[in-house]
Amino acid sequence: MPVAVRLPTVLRPSAGGASTVQAAGATVGEVFDDLVRQHPGLRDQLLTGDGELHRHLNVFLNDDDIRYLGKLGAKVSDTDTLTLMPAVAGG
């Protein structure tokens, strides 16, 4: 079953302008794989060349940061929402 993935403004052009998309998978990594299959332009904005989560991207599984849930291995179910947000930082 697909889960809802909320996209920040900066990623929407790579997903046809949608603010929320559906993607299927049992883990965050699998959901990302499906997301990239649907919207190949998202690949480099989500993942590094090594397939790791991009460090400038925050990914929340419902209310929790997936860095503390197993990162891309975090389990998801069809009632979950993934929210993607760019890291907000500077100096």
């Binding site: 403004t9 900066v10 925050n58 890291a87 907000v88 930082a89 500077g90 100096g91």
Partner: protein
Amino acid sequence: MLELPAAVVDEVVAACLAGYPLEVCGLLAGSVTADGSSALVASSTTTPNAAASARVYTVEPVALLRADRAADDAGLTLCGVWHSHTHTDAVPSPTDVAAAPDPGWWYLLVSLRDVEPKLRAWRIRDGVVEEDAVAVR
């Protein structure tokens, strides 16, 4: 143009002074005009600086999520981020430019270098930095 309620300006400056000598950061919620050229700020949220540094800041991720949801619930949008420069001008640093997360946002900087804090607003798009007017209402 970035329109700021005087109460928001007071809140931002007070937070920056309270957090000195560390950099302090927060998020702005409001309404953006359809052409993206102006924003009317309704509220500010001071967020933890996850970097806890006098030189850099990182908005604590869960605070970012909460601020985004609160803005959404209020019919607003996150439209900018503010942070203090403790010893330099209110001008984006190379780190600010490189890390700017959203070309549609305003970047409000507060300099604490002089006795009187100074605020300036900037747009940062694809590495290009432009100052924007601030109107305090």
